[in-house]
């Protein structure tokens, strides 16, 4: 490893409203690769429903399970980045390309996925301990859960959970904002990809906070529509992330992966 390998790549500064353009570009790619993209959305939607079904029977895992599920998003969208990459190369995107990206699954992507899975599991465990200790009332339904954990528990329990979650989510968002498409596209060590992603976020705090807020809003809407929203939100945000990567990272001098 040369000293250069530990340096983040150069990044570009973007305008505050640039994330809105990414959404428009993501929407356009979704239309162009409709079948394989929608399949990604459906898989996430079914995953969300499966978690909800399990969590309603073991309610203390509910808050952690959902937020942990969201942490895996950047890896789940791997196929979508590949579809956008093919579109940028003026190729016709096919499901086989998305599957190929998964199978190619470089060692770095596997490590990042593992790291996110560990973070998600720790978060589920921490949330369970918090709920277990501070909710005394019996909880048999979603209504009971919201009533006793979110609204009626000791005043500091919910804010503390939100603060801890916000810090963890900020780190995961910054580390994965553009690192997964970068790993898929270029030959680059994991550590350098993550530092590049953090740098891109740190050089554009306003725009990237707007991007994070748009993603959070899409997740909230998807949860409110009992996961149906994921079928559309996942493809659009996944494709948009590819365009974010192309806008933010200057990859000159880094060899392509293929």
């Amino acid at each position: 490893m040369t000293p250069d390998d530990r340096e983040p790549l150069p990044v570009r500064t973007i305008g505050f409203t640039r994330p809105l353009t990414w959404l428009a570009q993501g929407w356009r790619d979704f239309g162009r690769a409709f079948g394989p993209s929608l399949l990604h959305g459906f898989i996430v939607m079914l995953g969300g429903l499966a978690i909800l079904t399990v969590a309603l029977h073991a309610w203390p895992i509910l808050p952690g399970a959902f937020s942990g599920f969201v942490l895996m998003g950047p890896i789940l969208a791997t196929g979508l980045y590949e579809l956008s990459r093919r579109l940028a190369l003026r190729e016709h995107p096919r499901l086989a390309h998305a599957i190929g990206a998964w199978r190619r699954g470089t060692r770095s992507l596997v490590w990042l996925g593992l790291w996110l899975a560990i973070a998600a599991t720790l978060w589920v465990a921490l949330s369970v301990v918090l709920v277990w200790n501070f909710v005394d009332a019996p909880v048999a339904s979603l209504d009971d859960f919201l009533r006793h954990f979110v609204v009626m528990s000791r005043w500091w329990v919910f804010p503390l959970w939100v603060l801890a979650g916000a810090l963890g989510a900020a780190v995961v968002f910054a580390a994965t904002a553009v690192s997964v498409p970068l790993l898929l596209d270029r030959r680059i060590p994991l550590r350098r990809a993550i530092l590049t992603s953090v740098r891109a976020v740190g050089e554009n705090p306003g725009a990237m906070a707007l991007w994070a807020a748009l993603i959070m809003a899409a997740i909230a809407l998807s949860l409110l529509t009992m996961m149906a929203g994921f079928a559309f939100a996942v493809p659009v945000i996944g494709h948009a992330t590819w365009h974010a990567y192309r806008d933010l990272v200057d990859t000159d001098g880094v060899p392509p992966r293929q």
Binding site: W161, L163, A164, A166, R199, A209
Partner: protein
């Protein structure tokens, strides 16, 4: 209640509460360390500003969600 066991004058519930609070506190401190370390290594000038924006908006969404849920449940 007189028969409740205590350890060094604390009940089991008090010790559990302290443990969880301490655990979450340690988690928050560790996250802050990671944020500081990432900002330093990535040479990202305003990473702290981003984290501040992020946490504030996250907190605001949490507060609004809590208010809406409380209204819906009629509390």
């Amino acid at each position: 209640m007189g028969a409740e066991h205590t350890i060094l004058g604390f009940t089991e519930a008090q010790i559990a509460e302290f443990g969880v609070t301490f655990g979450v506190g340690a988690f928050i401190a560790y996250m802050l360390f990671i944020i500081w370390n990432l900002a330093r290594q990535s040479r990202a000038g305003r990473f702290g500003t981003f984290v501040l924006f992020f946490v504030l908006s996250f907190g605001m969404i949490g507060f609004v969600a809590k208010t809406i849920i409380a209204k819906l449940l009629g509390i």
